[in-house]
Amino acid sequence: MRRLAVRPAPKRLIPMLVILVAVVAAFAAAPRVYSNQLLLFNTIVYLVLAQGLNIIYGFTGYLPFGYVGFFGAGAYGFSLAVLHWHTPPLAALALGTLVAIILALILTPLLRLSGAYFAVANLAASEAVLQIVSNPNLTDFTKGPYGISLEKIYNPTLSYGAAVVTLAFTLAIVVYLKSSRFGLALQAIREDPISAGMAGVNVVRGRVLAWLMSALVAGLIGGIFAWYVSVFYPETVFDLSVSIFAIVFALFGGTATLVGPILGVLILYGIYNVIGISTPAYFQLIYGLLIVLLILFLPNGIVSLIDRGTRRVP
């Protein structure tokens, strides 16, 4: 066995595992205490998406503006498997995830682009997938613009459970990236791809793996979302604001950390729902202002309050 010359120093791993277990346990138990399960479910969805985005943006520096494309691909992969082949939900989830991964593979050439080019191309890709899925000419297969209805397999309890498991899985990936030499290699690629190559890191493989991992979790949670809500339109699961929320939440907390995106989702999505319920008339206004102020005064996220170089934060 290869001795790991690099961390994990266990003192770093343990606090992260504690956080992971605490968050997962809290969401597993929450429906017993708080009855708006859908709010909890959506929080989990955003936790998974924000962490999935963290995997690709935080660790490799690619900002996928069309991240929702994988979410939608997972949702449609799941639904079409159920509708056309009567696949049982768990198997359909695997298929949905596979669809998201295939989409990610098709889009790997985009990784040649950088900065805003990548962000915009990725956005275009997710819009393109939406246009295809919602096209009336494909109604027989995708149900076109008329949307999906999966009432037969509707099961909020089981799908909530699947979401909690996915959350645990996603957080485990981030813990792995934070504590493994592979995670360090990804960050090395983000810092300087040429030097990373000279450090022996396979740059292309590292990027593609991170890309596929982030697509995987988005596809998986997309499938579970379809299962949980069971009736939805193409615009629902390819909604640009899903990408933007995931990005804002992850940035607000602080990327390349485990706790950043968690804090980002809990605080911002919490505020979002509080405003939505308490002062709906000024909802959009307050939320927009919040985002503006966040970027102006806390551009490196909440974790930057704890530590200037966010690499020390779990």
Partner: protein
């Protein structure tokens, strides 16, 4: 002019470059360069700016794909392999403008290269100490001065246990006492059997460490031999010293 280095006992040289060509658009940055290098040898690569020295190193280290010619490592074709494959084969380098991972600490910079290099069991501290960075192990690379960053580059390169090390302008910007230390360090590497290609403007430094030099001009090798001979070669004098 001989293109052959002194190849020992029938074993292929550790590095052989043959008729290497690299084009950027219509411009031939390399136009048929060739030389060889054996284990434990230091080859100085000299020539005026724009003569193709750094491009040559970039091709050998896998940053550019060659457009013609061959790069042989131990007699096996290695041109166009990605950097990480070459690192595995025992090639590494430093950069003229040092490129450490700025957000990482010195230790992390070296650790990552150890982990993905040829000897994951190596102790990162060994390389950090060799590069004289023992006092700044936990500092972020971004806070180092440029001389320290250059040494960090060297430490990172060495921590993959290369057999062929390409050194691009390591000496520039060092003060005389530092220069002497670096010269001794590079020479000490040859005792481990490492072969070095050293690109350098400071001819005194080249004279101090190199066994042989290759003088380049306009993407070609125009002279092979000792630096002393080079300084008497009329062609070299014309292009390099500007007449």
């Amino acid at each position: 002019m001989s293109r052959e280095g002194s190849s020992g006992a029938g074993r292929p040289p550790i590095l052989a470059v043959e008729h290497l060509v690299k084009r950027f658009g219509g411009f031939r940055a390399l136009d048929g360069v060739g030389f060889t290098l054996n284990a434990g040898e230091i080859l100085g690569l000299v020539g005026p700016n724009g003569s193709g020295k750094t491009t040559c190193i970039n091709v050998i280290s896998g940053i550019y794909r060659p457009d013609g010619g061959r790069v042989l490592l131990d007699g096996h074709a290695a041109g166009g392999l990605p950097s990480h494959r070459l690192v595995r084969l025992g090639v590494n380098r430093t950069f003229q403008v040092p490129k450490p991972f700025l957000a990482f600490t010195v230790r992390e910079n070296v650790e990552i290269a150890v982990a993905y290099g040829r000897d994951p069991h190596a102790d990162p501290r060994e390389f950090i100490a060799f590069a004289g960075l023992g006092d700044v192990v936990e500092r972020q690379a971004a806070t180092l001065n440029s001389a320290q960053q250059k040494m960090l580059d060297l430490a990172r390169a060495l921590s993959t246990r290369p057999r062929l090390l390409l050194v691009d302008e390591l000496a520039a910007g060092l003060n005389p006492s530092e220069l002497e230390v670096v010269a001794e360090k590079l020479i000490s590497l040859t005792h481990l059997g490492i072969a070095l290609v050293v690109v350098e403007h400071l001819l005194g430094f080249i004279d101090r460490i190199a066994h042989r030099v290759v003088v380049m001009n306009a993407g070609r090798d125009i002279f092979h031999g000792g630096l002393g001979e080079a300084s008497r070669d009329p062609q070299v004098i014309e292009v390099f010293l500007g007449g």
